[in-house]
């Protein structure tokens, strides 16, 4: 019950915050279309840019409940924001979940090997993973293109279906996006280090000692106890990946919400930007809610506290 209340309270708060930011905006979307002051005025009125922030917030929330996030002003003039955001966010969600999976599986997997040991692998992961997403994406895309092209010129391979990045959508492009997102901007190293620490903590705890003394296999216990902290980690990461998503979609030309948000911000298409912010905030809150539920399920002590 309590997590659900906080889910909605947070979401409404986030929308209010975004509206508050817009309240003081010095320029508006009409700037991008109108050269003629008369046309500008008419547009301002039609688009409701002259309403007070409170009015706007209430209207937005009222419509959002009915699934209507408003109308795009400049990105796709006249198109419904819901219609634009929905298919795009499904594409983006795939990337997001993929990246989450990649970094969790790799991070935790390696942590099982390296936790509590001196390992060059930890350092290597750190060195590779701190590279910003935009550099990693651009560099790997360029290398991939040039190598494949030179192989094609040498007639070693025929033209691959995905060639050339970042042009058309392909399985390879999705994989590349997921990998870069899951590794770059310190994503992998942070998950790796955090799970190492958790593993160490669990390994040092008394019940593991007891299990070991009885000669039982400790791995299932480790896994089960790792699940709680991992969910927290994953649900916190989700918000971080949403940011990286914008970059990766922009660089690799993926038509998802991230790239759309970028364009909306550039073209001052605030209804669209607001709609995407709403979806992003909802996703973050949902990830937290899911994290809470999993944690409570895994750890009976938390249930007792409630």
């Amino acid at each position: 019950m309590r997590p659900c209340v906080s889910f909605f309270a947070t979401l409404v708060g986030a929308i209010f915050l975004a509206q508050l930011l817009l309240w003081l905006a010095p320029g508006d979307a009409a700037d991008i279309v109108a050269n003629d002051p008369k046309l500008r005025e008419a547009l301002v009125q039609e688009w409701g840019l002259d309403q007070s922030p409170l009015q706007r917030t209430l209207i937005f929330l009222g419509h959002a409940i009915q699934g209507d996030l408003g109308t795009s002003l400049t990105y796709r003039p006249g198109a419904s924001v819901t219609g634009l955001v929905l298919p795009a966010s499904i594409r983006s969600l795939g990337l997001l979940l993929g990246a989450l999976l990649v970094s969790l599986v790799t991070g935790v997997g390696i942590a099982f090997h390296t936790a509590g040991r001196k390992s060059w692998l930890r350092r290597m992961i750190q060195i590779g993973s701190v590279v910003p997403v935009f550099l990693l994406a651009y560099a790997s895309m360029t290398l991939l293109n040039e190598w494949t092209f030179s192989l094609m010129q040498a007639e070693v391979i025929s033209r691959p279906g995905w060639f050339a990045l970042p042009d058309q959508d392909s399985f390879l492009k999705t994989c590349l996006a997921i990998l870069v997102l899951g590794v770059g901007s310190s994503a992998l190293t942070e998950i790796h280090v955090a799970s190492e620490q958790e593993l160490q903590r669990i390994r040092r705890s008394k019940f593991i000692d007891a299990a070991r003394a009885r000669g039982a296999n400790t791995t299932p216990h480790l896994f089960w106890n790792l699940l709680g902290p991992l969910t927290t980690l994953a649900s916190n990461r989700a918000a971080f990946f949403l940011g990286g998503l914008i970059i990766i979609e922009k660089v690799l030309h993926v038509n998802g919400v991230g790239a759309m948000l970028w364009q909306a911000c550039r073209l001052r298409d605030y209804p669209l930007a607001l709609g995407i912010t709403f979806v992003a905030a909802a996703l973050v809150c949902a990830a937290r809610l899911a994290g809470d539920i999993v944690r409570v399920t895994v750890d009976p002590r938390l249930r007792a506290q409630r």
Binding site: I32, P77, F149, D167
Partner: protein, 506 residues
Amino acid sequence: MNNKTLHLFALGIALSLAGPASGTALRYAEDQAPGIINPLFTTSMSEARVNELLFDGLFTDDRDLASTPALVDNWELAEDKLSMTLSLKPDLYWQDGTPLSTKDVVFTIEAMKNPKTLSSEAGRVEWIKSAEALSSQQLRLTFNQPEFQPQDKLFFKIVPSHAFDSTTVRRGDDFRTKPVGTGPYQFISYNPDNSITYRRNTDYRDSVGIPELVMREVNDKNYQAKLMLFESMEALIRVLPRDLAVLQNNRLVELYPYQTNSWWYTGFNLTRAPFNEPKVRAALAHMVDVEALLAPVGTGAVLSGPFVKSSPYYNHDVAPVSADPFLAGGYLEEAGFEQGPDGWQRDGEVLTLQLSAPKAVEDAQEIVLNLQAQLQQNGVSVTVEFLDEAEWKARIWRNRDFDMLLSQWSFDRNEDVRDQFHSKGARNFGSYTNEKVDDLLDRARNSSDPYEKKMLLREAHRVIHEDHPMIFLWTLDSYAALNTKISQVAIHPFYFFTYVSSWRMK
């Protein structure tokens, strides 16, 4: 990281079995996909190009850029030049099968004129007083004042009246997702990857060569030329100068030069001191080495006035301003400036200016930074700012808040510079006023004699040149790049796709 790339590479080879992409479509790149497909609301070039594919005007341009009938069969201008009668070509159909009638033409004009439509194109029909259908094939247009060449202004696109409820057209109307036109291509779909597919219109009034066109959004300009080389793209609308060499040497790519009616300039704000003084403007103009500015951004022709070199109105007796620091210093001294430790100054005030440029325009960075360096060397300190589209429109168009700006003007074949240089011109951002120029431009606009008009505008060129309201820079040589598979290519300098029906693809 190396390990990971190798991994991906192996994956790539595995995927290479998927085979090559289909080869029947012509794919062309746009920086930004069109936001809306509706000729009444066009605000960007990519939208204008789509309109060219899907829609037709009453008239269009022939290969020599003279007007030629498109939907119109024949027409007659009244004696008093205040009205004209047009009849449409018979047996023309909209892409949904409805026959085209004069009702559609009347509807288009009325929709554009309807203030509730908020059409960004309303200016194109301002001069038409009314449109009236005489029959389904014949209509009459009445003008506000005598028009000598009305067909030159009748190239706006016609939309189908049956697709709309009333002449109050909205941006959100369904038309945006299923546009219907009479043009050589038919809209098929907005694809999930932001591309748009068009198929040829088999009912078009002419035969159309290439079966399918695909617009692809490639907003990274660094990648456009690359994708041509990789054969992921068949057409590039404008090649960046720095990519010219590498495309020129590739046997898969053919470059097509085209002459655009557009020129670059740096304009002064004549309402601000000291740029209201002709001497100061002349001095600044003589400090700039235009050839050196042009070198890093491409090749082109340096201009002395507001017309392109190939224009009949260009006055070849007027030479471009030469770079002459000595002369520039002379002008400044005449204006009361003297050389101080911080550069030129007058009454203790140092000569400084802010140079504004649009962020989105390619090559603007190189030009601006170079110009800044040149002026600095001559003792004028310059700060630079790059504005995004919205800031540009607000600051420059609306508030006229700038010292000096870098930009370019593009014109249709009328090359009407009245908006730019007439004291009442809507695009006269610098607030340039010269009664003589006003008079020359007014007379030129109302003149029915082509020779007289030419002479008037050449004189205007000379007068404007002497006033230095702006530093005239150049027209750039533009090149389109097309894959050699495409033949019989002709390119319209502004709308690009005007002659697309004649293109053929192997």
